[in-house]
C-alpha cells in the first residue's frame, strides 16, 4: 500500500469516526431530552404550585372550600370528583373491556377479529373533545330523561346506597361524566387485555380443552389466572387515563366545586377545574392553587401509571423467559 492510499484511508476513517460521534451524540441528546422533559414538568409544577402549598400548607388537601373572592382554596372537591368519576368509570368499563377482549381472542372467527379490533382501536383515536360534545348533547339528555328518573325512583329510597341516587335529574353531573369516561377507557383496557390474553400459550388452553373444559372454563380457570398481572396492569393503565381526562369531563360534569353525596349532582374534577378556571384566574394565589391541583393530578396519575408499567414489565419478562 502506498503512502497516499494510507493517508486516504486514515482520513476516511477519521471522517467516519467523526460522523459516528456526531450521530451517536445527537441520539443521546434527544434521549436525554426526554428525561429533561419529565424533569421540567415536575420542576415547573412544583415551582408554580409552591405559593399555594406554602400558603395553605396541609389544609390545601383537607378543605372543601374553593372561593376565588376570599382567596381560599382547598382541593377536596376536585380530588373527590376525580376519584369518584374514575372509579365508577372503571366499574362500568372493566366488565365490558373484559368481554371485548374475550370476544376478540377466543370467540370471534378470524375474518371478524381484525375489523372489530380496528373499530375498537378507532374508538380510542376519537379525540376527547368529541366525546365531550357527544356526552353533552346526546348522552346527557338520554340519561336525564330515561335513566336518571328510573335510578331516583328505584334506587333512591334504598338504605345506604339510596343517597347516591337522590335529587333532581340534572342530566349533567358525576354519573354522566363517569359514563363518558367509561366509554373512553374501554378501548384502552380492552386493547391491553387482548394483548395480554394472547400471550397465554396455546398448549395450556389446549390441555384444558382436552380435559373437556368449556370455553368459559378455559378463560376463567386458565387464561385469567395466567395473565393476572397483565390484567391488573391494563386496568390501571385505563385508570390512569380516566384520572387525567380533561375535555370530555369538562363538558358534562357541571363544574360545581362541592362534594355532593348524590352521583346525579354536578361536581368537578381536577382537570376540569384547571381547564375551566385557569385562563380566568386572577391573582397569584388562585393561579398557584390551580397549578397545585395539577401537581396533585400528576402525582396521582404518575403513581397509578408507574405501578401499571411495573406490572406489565414483569409480565413481559415472564413472557420472554417462557419462550
Amino acid at each position: 500500500m502506498n503512502t497516499a492510499a494510507v493517508a486516504f484511508d486514515s482520513r476516511h476513517a477519521a471522517k467516519q469516526r467523526f460522523r459516528e460521534t456526531l450521530f451517536r451524540g445527537a441520539t443521546l441528546v434527544a434521549a436525554l431530552l426526554v428525561l429533561a422533559l419529565l424533569g421540567g414538568v415536575v420542576a415547573t409544577l412544583l415551582h408554580g404550585s409552591w405559593p399555594a402549598f406554602s400558603h395553605f400548607g396541609f389544609a390545601f388537601l383537607t378543605r372543601a372550600i374553593w372561593n376565588p373572592v376570599t382567596d381560599e382554596f382547598g382541593a377536596v372537591a376536585p380530588i373527590y370528583g376525580t376519584v369518584v368519576t374514575s372509579l365508577i368509570a372503571m366499574i362500568i368499563a372493566i366488565p365490558i373491556s373484559f368481554g371485548i377482549a374475550i370476544f376478540l381472542t377466543e370467540l370471534a372467527p378470524a375474518w371478524l377479529k381484525r375489523p372489530v379490533g380496528v373499530a375498537i382501536e378507532l374508538l380510542a383515536a376519537v379525540p376527547s373533545i368529541i366525546f365531550g360534545i357527544w356526552g353533552l348533547f346526546v348522552l346527557a339528555p338520554i340519561l336525564q330523561r330515561h335513566v336518571q328518573p328510573w335510578l331516583i325512583e328505584w334506587l333512591g329510597p334504598l338504605p345506604l346506597v339510596g343517597k347516591l341516587f337522590q335529587g333532581p335529574p340534572f342530566g349533567i353531573g358525576v354519573l354522566t361524566a363517569s359514563v363518558v369516561l367509561a366509554i373512553m377507557v374501554i378501548p384502552f383496557i380492552s386493547a391491553v387485555l387482548r394483548d395480554v390474553f394472547e400471550t397465554v400459550p396455546d398448549v395450556l388452553k389446549e390441555s384444558a380443552y382436552g380435559l373437556g373444559a368449556t370455553t368459559w372454563e378455559v378463560i376463567w380457570k386458565v387464561v385469567v389466572p395466567y395473565s393476572r398481572t397483565g390484567i391488573v396492569g391494563g386496568i390501571m393503565l385505563g385508570l390512569g387515563r380516566a384520572l387525567g381526562e380533561t375535555m370530555a369531563v369538562t363538558f358534562v360534569i357541571g363544574n360545581a366545586h362541592r362534594v355532593s353525596p348524590s352521583l346525579l349532582a354536578p361536581g368537578t374534577t381536577i382537570s376540569a377545574s384547571i381547564a375551566n378556571e385557569f385562563t380566568e384566574a386572577v391573582g397569584d394565589l388562585y393561579t398557584s392553587s390551580l397549578v397545585g391541583l395539577g401537581t396533585l393530578l400528576f402525582l396521582i396519575t404518575f403513581t397509578v401509571i408507574a405501578s401499571a408499567r411495573f406490572m406489565l414489565l414483569r409480565l413481559d419478562r415472564r413472557a420472554l423467559s417462557s419462550v
Partner: protein, 284 residues
C-alpha cells in the same frame, strides 16, 4: 339440572355477554359517528372553508381555525418527530438494555400517559409567562411535547423489528453504526416509522387541553406565530358551549372535520403497516 347442563348454560351466558360487550363498544363508536355526521353535515358548505369564525349572530366559516390547527400540528410534528426518532434510535440501537435506557424508557412511558392538560400547564409556565402572551408557537411546542413520547415509542418498536442479521451484515463489511442505521435500518423500518408519525399527527391534531392556555383562540385570521391563533379544538370547545345556534353548527361541522381527518389518518396508518412493512402482517 345436572352439572353438565349448568356448565353449558354458564358457558353460553358468559359468551353471550362477551358478545354483548363487543356490541356495546361498537355501538358507542357508531353512535358518536352518527351524531357527528347527522349534525355536522348540515354545516358543510363552501363558506365553512372560505370564511373566518364569525361574531355571534352572523354567518361564517372556520377557515382561520383550520389554518391554525394545520400550522400548530405541523410545528408539533416538525419539532417532535426528529427528537422522538433520534431518541427512539438511541434506545433501540445504542442504549438497548443499559440502565440509562431502562430509565429513559420508563420516563418516556410516564410522559406518554401524563394528562395532556399538565403538558399545557408546563408550556404555560415555560413559554407563555416568559413571552408575556399566549402564542401559536407555545401551542405548537405543547403539541410537540405530546408527540415526542409517541414517536420515541413507535420508532424504538419499529427499529427492533429489523432483523439483527441485516445489521450484522452491514457491520461485517466495516460500516460504522451510524452508516448501518441510516442506510440499512431506517429504510427497512420506513413504513413502520411513517405509521408512527401518522399516529402522532392523528393524536395531536385533536388535542384540546394543551392548547387551552398556550395558543388560546383567535376570532380573526392570524398568521403570526407569536400571537394567539384559532384552532379547531378550541373553536369546537368554545362554540359548542355557546348559546348561539350558528356557532353550535360551526362546532359540529368542525368536530366532524377533525374526527374524519383523525380516523382517516389512523386507518391509513394501519393499512400502511400491513401493506408496506417487510414481513408485515405478523406484527399483530
Amino acid at each position: 339440572m345436572n352439572r353438565r347442563t349448568i356448565r353449558k348454560f354458564t358457558n353460553g351466558l358468559a359468551l353471550t355477554l362477551s358478545g354483548l360487550a363487543t356490541f356495546i363498544g361498537l355501538f358507542c363508536l357508531g353512535a358518536i359517528l352518527w351524531t357527528l355526521i347527522s349534525n355536522g353535515i348540515a354545516g358543510m358548505s363552501v363558506a365553512l372553508f372560505t370564511q373566518n369564525t364569525p361574531p355571534p349572530g352572523s354567518s361564517g366559516g372556520i377557515l382561520n381555525a383550520i389554518y391554525g390547527s394545520v400550522v400548530m400540528t405541523l410545528i408539533g410534528i416538525l419539532i417532535g418527530a426528529p427528537i422522538g426518532m433520534l431518541a427512539g434510535t438511541y434506545l433501540a440501537e445504542y442504549g438497548r438494555a443499559s440502565r440509562l435506557s431502562t430509565v429513559i424508557r420508563f420516563v418516556n412511558d410516564s410522559l406518554l400517559s401524563t394528562p395532556s392538560i399538565i403538558i399545557g400547564l408546563f408550556i404555560y409556565e415555560l413559554l407563555v409567562i416568559r413571552m408575556g402572551h399566549f402564542s401559536a408557537l407555545a401551542g405548537g411546542v405543547a403539541l410537540a411535547v405530546i408527540a415526542i413520547p409517541i414517536t420515541v415509542r413507535t420508532t424504538e418498536d419499529m427499529l427492533n423489528l429489523v432483523p439483527q442479521g441485516m445489521k450484522d451484515a452491514s457491520t461485517a463489511i466495516g460500516a460504522y453504526p451510524w452508516r448501518t442505521i441510516t442506510s440499512i435500518v431506517y429504510p427497512a423500518a420506513r413504513s413502520g416509522i411513517v405509521t408512527g408519525l401518522l399516529l402522532a399527527v392523528a393524536r395531536i391534531s385533536g388535542e384540546t387541553a394543551p392548547l387551552l392556555f398556550t395558543a388560546l383562540n383567535n376570532q380573526f385570521w392570524s398568521t403570526n406565530l407569536r400571537a394567539p391563533m384559532a384552532n379547531l379544538p378550541m373553536v369546537i370547545f368554545v362554540y359548542a358551549l355557546s348559546p348561539y345556534k350558528n356557532w353550535q353548527q360551526l362546532a359540529w361541522s368542525g368536530a366532524l372535520l377533525v374526527t374524519l381527518t383523525i380516523l382517516i389518518l389512523s386507518i391509513t396508518a394501519r393499512v400502511a403497516v400491513s401493506a408496506l412493512s417487510p414481513g408485515g402482517g405478523n406484527k399483530r
